[in-house]
């Protein structure tokens, strides 16, 4: 498989280790992973604030960078949801539709496409709280949301359960939003941070040493909140654990 690696702007800038882990992880399965140099962003920051026209050039650039791959994989659920589910500031040519349909978030790619059933190189003997970002949970359907009367399933938990030593804690509010919400984190910063404090306290009270998520934006916000109120907590992206990161 020829995979185009999409590393969103905020991971590029703040969490390069997540990008590195994603790249190495995909390579472990023997695929050709290409990182188009001229990539930037998926257009979500503008589009989510209602500025769809302002997202057009960015979206067009994304398509130019990522056409021609078997799959485009990104370690970010919100970006992938934007590409697959919205991404309509530009004309929907066949190329555009093709790129959009082939764009996957890392967990769903590993679970649904590669159907990975083991991570023999991975060991993480710690108590972790799993945080499913709202985009991956309810839009990309990573797991069953607690609001619905449907059978339970969880793709990230399926993958993480294959990591030796890992232990999941049980949260009081497993899928309440952590309060990042993109521009919400700044426009409604008091509510946003209160939600973040509540979220990290829930994890802390449940006994988590680490909060793990497939979305670094949530982790970035939660880490900022935890540090501000002095809740000792470590944060890690799922790609890092699956790639064999140690504590």
């Amino acid at each position: 498989m020829r995979i185009g690696l999409f590393i969103p702007c905020y991971i590029d800038a703040f969490f390069p280790e997540v990008g590195i882990a994603t790249l190495e992880l995909l390579e472990r399965f023997g695929h050709e992973v290409v990182y188009p140099h001229d990539q930037t962003c998926c257009g979500q920051p503008m589009a989510n604030s209602g500025f769809n026209a302002e997202a057009a050039d960015t979206e067009a650039l994304f398509v130019r960078n990522f056409s021609g791959f078997d799959y485009v994989v990104a370690p970010s659920g919100s970006c992938v949801h934007h590409v697959r589910g919205k991404f309509d500031a530009i004309e929907q040519t066949d190329t555009v539709k093709e790129v959009r349909a082939r764009t996957y978030e890392l967990v769903e790619f590993l679970h649904d496409i590669l159907k990975v059933d083991a991570f023999p190189w991975a060991r993480f003997p710690h108590r972790v709280g799993l945080h499913n970002s709202c985009g991956t949970l309810r839009q990309l359907k990573h797991a069953r949301p607690s609001e619905l009367n449907e059978p339970f399933f969880s793709k990230p938990m399926d993958l993480l359960s294959k990591v030796e030593g890992i232990e999941f804690v049980e949260l009081a509010r497993p899928d309440e939003c952590c309060g990042f919400g993109g521009t919400f984190s700044v426009f409604e910063e008091v509510v946003s941070t209160k939600m973040g404090y509540d979220k990290v306290r829930d994890h802390a009270q449940a006994g988590a040493e680490y909060i793990v998520s497939a979305d670094s934006s949530c982790l970035m916000h939660q880490q900022g909140c935890a540090e501000h109120i002095g809740v000792p907590m470590k944060f890690i992206h799922i790609a890092e654990i699956l790639n064999g990161a140690s504590a």
Binding site: T40, T58, G182, F187, E189, V191, S192, G230, V231
Partner: protein
């Protein structure tokens, strides 16, 4: 298992009474930056604490955009109120979940409810016709009101014709929408709310904050203060049973001597001309059955085709709202009683126009259960009054702009788009998608601040230019300064006010890749 303590506990594990460790305790003796506590007591203080004052709602100035964030910040700055409110409503959400798990056909019921409503709305004129014909043949007077003002005038005329000067009523969000009580006051009609939460709010001269539990934002001490002022209860007694009983005793005589009664309507059945009102107190039944004259306000979107459809909605309503299988009272009114008179007022007030909005007409399916408010993490921490509108929470975000796009232009941004609301909605309104759609509409209509527009344009320009983008994020401190600004217009300060900024890494992914995996591909 090690438990992580948050900084509410002191070092040896015991918690000092909150009063004793208040940050600015004037009685504290500080040495070297630390409070001396070697002989301090840890028992509860004997002197009574003044109750936390109730945070008031959004500051509304005419047509100026309501600043929900400001009001939300004040709510959060009242920690007892915020904590009670958040926990109370989260509890309702959990009770709802428990009910849901007891009904294997739950998701099917939601689909049925949604389909019935969408069918009805796409044939709304026919079903309203049918409802009116049946209601009239049952002896009910049917009136039509284009807007809130006309509704108020019609009701006033009916009351005047009967020489009525006092009116008891049960809860109706439609009447709130119409500004009914202020109008009645202006024409000298005394209106008495009989729903406990609505009565509290009426006596406090404050709007209801939630469609089902109107005073959910108030602590018992707030209610004690209101009642002591208005129905002369003991100001120092905030026992809930005492307060509720006092209200019952104070209201019963008013119910007995009222000239007329008014209710809202949860569902109106076209097939039989019946309208249904659901309450837990039985106050709709008192309002309708004690006075001779009964007037019901009915939004035109409340119509459902047949009796059999009622089962679907009644099964979903209270489970979604309060986590109980049904309300204590489900009242079906089909005609006036012997010697009585029954009037219904069918109200449009923007609903027919909303029907024509391609992205938003399905918001008319709403059955006013409040489940979206209970699950919304923003609503629970902000309080319903922070929205400055009749309808708050997620449903408010998508219908308030239809009443006034300018005044409510900030509301669709008071959301993280997390989607929980859409999942709990018994009629499957895609609320979070409509919130997103409203953002686009408001931008297109220029109802957003110019500074924000400029920032978004700048972000769009930078993010579509690869070389410029790479330069911007290359240096770690430049990245910290620039990147959050792509997505904001307030500047870094807003992120860092109550939260630490991300730690700058040694290099970007771009740089790492270039250094470790070769040049541009």
């Amino acid at each position: 298992m090690s438990t992580v303590r948050d900084n509410a506990d002191d070092e040896d594990g015991a918690m000092l009474h909150p009063q004793l460790r208040a940050e600015h305790d004037p009685d504290a003796i500080i040495r070297d930056g630390r409070r001396l506590d070697h002989a301090e007591g840890r028992s509860k203080a004997l002197r009574p604490q003044p109750p936390e004052p109730q945070p008031r709602g959004a500051r509304v100035h005419g047509n100026r955009p309501v600043d929900q964030a400001e009001a939300a910040a004040r709510f959060i700055a009242s920690p007892e109120h915020e904590k009670m409110h958040d926990e109370r409503l989260w509890d309702l959400r959990q009770k709802r979940d428990r009910e849901m798990h007891g009904i294997p056909e739950w998701e099917e019921l939601r689909s049925l409810a949604s389909a019935i409503k969408e069918h009805t709305l796409t044939h709304l004129d026919e079903y309203l016709d049918e409802f009116e014909a049946n209601a009239r043949s049952n002896g009910v007077h049917v009136h039509w009101a284009r807007d809130g003002a006309e509704h108020n005038q019609i009701v006033h005329a009916i009351l005047r014709d009967h020489g009525a000067t006092s009116l008891i009523k049960s809860k109706s969000m439609l009447t709130e929408e119409c500004g009914f009580r202020p109008y009645m006051t202006s024409v000298g009609i005394e209106v008495i709310e009989t729903d406990l939460g609505e009565r509290i709010q009426q006596l406090d001269n404050e709007d209801p904050s939630h469609v089902v539990v109107p005073a959910v934002h108030k602590l018992r001490t707030d209610v004690a203060e209101v009642f002591s002022r208005t129905i002369r209860t003991d100001p120092s007694n905030s026992d809930v049973h005492y307060l509720a009983e006092a209200q019952r005793e104070a209201t019963r005589p008013l119910i007995l001597k009222a000239d007329a009664g008014m209710t809202g309507c949860n569902f109106a059945v076209a097939e039989t001309g019946t309208f249904v009102v659901c309450t837990n107190e039985g106050n709709a039944d008192l309002s309708a059955n004690v006075p001779k004259l009964h007037i019901a306000s009915i939004g035109i979107e409340k119509i459902i085709p047949r009796l059999e459809h009622l089962a679907v909605f009644v099964r979903l309503l209270s489970r979604s709202a309060l986590g109980s299988p049904v309300t204590q009272y489900t009242s079906h009114f089909r005609g006036p009683r012997q010697g009585g008179e029954m009037h219904v007022v069918l109200v449009d007030n923007g609903r027919s126009e909303r029907l024509g909005m391609e992205e938003f007409w399905t918001s008319l399916k709403c059955i006013r259960c409040g489940a979206c408010m209970n699950t919304c993490p923003v609503y629970r921490r902000s309080g319903g009054l922070s929205y400055g509108a009749t309808y708050s929470g997620p449903i408010g975000l998508i219908i308030d702009p239809t009443f006034n796009a300018r005044k409510y232009s900030n509301l669709p941004f008071a959301s993280t788009l997390n989607g929980s609301c859409s999942n709990v909605c018994p009629v499957k309104i895609n609320i979070h998608e409509q919130i997103y759609a409203w953002r686009r509409v408001l931008v297109e209509r220029h109802e957003v601040p110019l500074a924000k527009k400029a920032a978004m344009k700048a972000a769009g320009a930078l993010l579509s230019r690869p070389a410029a983008y790479r330069t911007a994020i290359a240096a770690a401190d430049m990245a910290l300064a620039h990147l959050p600004r792509f997505v904001i217009y307030n500047g870094l300060n807003a992120w860092g006010k109550h939260r630490e900024v991300p730690h700058p890494p040694k290099q970007t992914f771009h740089s790492w890749y270039k250094a470790n995996r070769g040049a541009k591909q």
